[in-house]
Structure formats: structure tokens, C-alpha cells
């Protein structure tokens, strides 16, 4: 299935959760803020957020800034 992450199309397996996707990408979930189809996902819900075909995800992290 295909989902849009940060504006780019990604392929991922059916049944994947946000948490398993991040782990597969080698990204530490503690450093991520996620918006799933326009709504903020709290960190403790990453493991229960199931990804579906056509979903849109925004994944952000803190960077240096003034």
C-alpha cells in the first residue's frame, strides 16, 4: 500500500503501525512528532495507529532554530 509521508509517496506493508514504520526506518519514536491525516498523534498512540492505503503522515522533529 502507498501512504504519503511529508509530501512524498512511500510504500509500506499492510498492518504496519506508525511505531513499526518508524522503527523500520531507523527513527527513534521519542524524537518524532506526528500528524496523521491532519490530526496530532500523541507519542503513546504510535503503537496503535494503524496505517492505511492513501493515508497522509507528517513526521517532524526538532532542529536548531532561533
Amino acid at each position: 500500500m502507498k501512504i504519503t509521508i511529508n509530501g512524498e509517496s512511500h510504500t509500506c506493508q499492510a498492518g504496519e503501525t506508525l511505531l513499526s514504520f518508524l522503527k523500520a526506518e531507523g527513527i527513534s519514536p521519542q524524537t518524532v512528532v506526528a500528524e496523521y491525516n491532519g490530526s496530532i498523534v500523541q507519542m503513546n498512540q504510535f503503537g496503535t495507529t494503524l496505517l492505511h492505503d492513501g493515508d497522509s503522515l507528517e513526521l517532524l522533529r526538532f532542529v536548531g532554530g532561533g
Binding site: 512524498e8 500528524e35 522533529r61 526538532f62 532542529v63 532554530g65 532561533g66
Partner: protein
Amino acid sequence: MLLEVNEKKGRNIMEDQLIIGGKEIKSRLFLGTGKFGDDHLIPKCIEASGAQIITVAMRRIDFHTSQENMMQYIPKDCILMPNTSGARNAEEAVRIARLGRAAGCGDWVKIEVVSDNKYLLPDNEETLKAVDTLVKEGFTVLPYMTPDLYAARRMRDAGAAAVMPFGAPIGTNKGLRTREVVQIMAEELDLPVVVDAGIGKPSEAAECMEIGAAAVLVNTAVATAGDPVRMAAAFGKAVQAGREAFLASPGAVRQYAEASSPLTGFLHEA
């Protein structure tokens, strides 16, 4: 008249507290974390400067490059203030602020709404809308703004915890080019005025404090200095010195010389 103003300003430094969002802030220097050639310098600069309020930005994760988690460089006892840089209107600023809070770093936010990429000047009207929304959601909101007394009053009425007018455009190191308006804002507003952006040298940070600013936010000046840690320490001292000078009430400026030594008892007197 001058005496009146000075008397109004003169305060006991022992009672000199900076309270923002109900918190006593230990340092009047706020430090940004962008543009550091090496992020390992960030905790050293925070320590050297004594800064307590630290700004960060939020960006999309880039899957094509490996990125470090910069939060590891910010000591846990700091107050983290995410900015909404990248926002072009109030709606985007609100969205970024909510995401920052969801990341679990508290409820402070620096509103930054910019749609002019050449000078990065903040849009006061959109900023005010974002302040209004976010205050109602319980954020401690510090708007970065174009210096303007009336706009600042509206920010205050909307519940801003402080206002942050620029000294010069972001990253220019030009100093306090907005001195007149910032001084009036500091005098007339009953909430802290933090000079944010454009300050390039410690003397300029001291100048901000001497005219009554409550604090100064610097980033580029420290991050791009030859020795950022040493520059951070210099800014920490400058802000303290400037604050003390403000509290001490500088003496009057005069057109003509006035001798500091007595004008009697000279050797040549008859």
C-alpha cells in the same frame, strides 16, 4: 522631566525579577540553537551564557539523510521555546505550535509568522491571530514582531506573555536599528519586551538592556562567532551589565562640557 523618568525607572536590583508566564526567569539572555557549525557547542554556549530560555525549530524529517536528535544537546533544566518558523500565516503557526507541544516540551512558544523571504519581517496581523488562538489553548506565547506600540498592546490584550520586537532583520548582526520604537515600547508596555533578532555584538545587547528591554534573544551572533562559547559568555555578561545600568539610571546627556574636577583652587590663582 528627565529626573522624573529616572526616578520612575530606578529600582533596587535585589528586587529585580523577570517573570514570564508565571515563572521567574534566571537569565535575561535567551539563546537560539540554529546555525551552529557543531551542535556539541550548544550545551557549552548555554552554560557559558547562563541562558535558561532556549529556542528550537521544527522541521520535517528527511528520510534521505541521517539526522541527529538535537534535543540531546539541551540541558533538561532549560525552558524550551519552540518557534513557529516556516509559518506563513496564523493557521500554520498554530499548527506548528500544537505539534511542538505534542512533542512534550512544555507550553512555551515563540510565534514567528513570516511571508517575506528577503528580510524575514514578521507579519504582526497574522501573528496577533495566532497569539489569540494559542493563549486560549493555554500556551505561554511570546510573539516575534515588527516593533509597533499599538500592535504590541493588542498582543498584550490577547494574552501574550511578552513581546519580542526585532532589533534588525534576522541574522544580519546589524544591532539595535529599531532603538526609538523599542525604547518607547519598553517604557509604555506593562509586559516584558524582549529584543529578538539582529543583535550582533554584546555591546548592542547591553544597549537593548540600557533602554529598558527585559531580555535579549540572540542566535546568529553566537553561533557564527569565531569562538561561539566565548561569545556566549560575553553576551551573558553584557545583558547583566546593561540591566544594571538601566536600574542605576544613566546620568543626563549634556551639550557642553561640565568639569568632573573642581573649578577652584588652581595653582595659578592669585
